[in-house]
Symmetry: C2
Subunit: 209 residues, 2 copies
């Protein structure tokens, strides 16, 4: 690691400023080295984060990704340098990854990618995510998932109720692409925002009234 004259790690740290994700570590690097035309080389998480930044700056909505929950055990406080966490563990999250507010509505959603071409395996969802979405639905939140079929380059905004129902069927281990098409709104990736998922939220709001 490069140590800067002040002993600070800040310049090094800045390069790594994005939320850590084990699965996306390599994709991440790939995305950096390639020129970024719309969704090319971006993970779904990056596309959603970009979109949220756009929505935030334009005062359209306030949606943030929740930080990875970490249980911190040991912290060092080096002189003239910022605190370094020396021992910590990943904790189980109790919610979905994204929530926020849009036109007075509470939004809550989870983003999932699959390399499959004809179905989406339900094991991609963790039980706590299903339970959380169900709890938020009871409180009249607008709850959904954004599913990306990476190989097909197709994006679906699927109501949480459909996913919860599928999850609760004991004999069902996946939902087919056809089922997703029938129960979702498809969105196309674009430029500003990268992924215009609020267009679908507008439809959910209309359906509600």
């Amino acid at each position: 690691m490069v140590k800067y004259p002040t002993g600070s790690l800040t310049p090094y740290a800045k390069e790594n400023n994005k939320p850590f994700s084990l699965q996306n570590k390599n994709k991440h690097k790939k995305a950096k080295s390639s020129v970024n035309f719309s969704d090319r080389g971006m993970t779904l998480e990056q596309q959603i984060n970009e979109s949220n930044k756009f929505y935030l700056i334009q005062d359209i909505a306030v949606v943030h990704k929740k930080p990875t929950p970490v249980q911190i055990v040991k912290v060092d406080y080096p002189k003239r340098s910022r605190a370094v966490i020396k021992e910590a563990y990943f904790r189980q999250a109790s919610t979905t990854d994204y929530n926020g507010v849009y036109k007075g509505f509470y939004l809550d959603f989870e983003a999932k990618e699959t390399r499959n071409k004809a179905s989406f395996p339900l094991k991609n969802f963790h039980e706590h995510q299903i339970v959380h979405l169900d709890k938020c639905l009871k409180q009249k939140g607008i709850c959904f998932t954004i599913i990306k079929f990476v190989s097909l380059n197709r994006y679906f905004v699927t109501p949480a109720s459909f996913i919860i129902n599928a999850w609760n069927q004991i004999d069902k281990s996946s939902v087919t692409l056809d089922e997703i098409i029938q129960n979702s709104y498809e969105i196309k990736s674009g430029y500003r925002p990268t992924l215009p998922y609020l267009d679908v939220v507008d439809k959910f709001i209309l359906d509600r009234n």
Copy 2:
């Protein structure tokens, strides 16, 4: 540290399962060793977390504290043991600590303690918290702060608009207790929930209609 036969740190970890907070580390221990009558020995954060747990279990509201944002640099994967984060840094948060959904409304708030007896110093708020509360207000979220005067054992639910206005006055470094009384609803700590702040949210909802 106790290493268990499997090499797992899980039993040790479980004791530390609560979100880490530098300031509250010692208070935390104190709270554990004392019998817990209502708010006695609990920090404001603990009181709110307890209340949120109650609201969640009773299907009254879904409100969670956001995890501390951490930028992870190095992770070890020991055999037969869970991943250990070996190097990480605290990141600047971009939101408040708490948000969630209640009866279709988006809630967003920050909790602050002071040992002062006659005023609340505005430097307790960080700029990003004020900016975030303002952004959420524009999206019609219900935004507020819960202020605890520790020495007085008094709790106030204060609309974010009041705090933002005070913060934006250049010559103002604190708000007096009187100002807080005039612009807030006072709540009393109790048993179930520990801090019934949703009673005030109900008033905010009524005021709105």
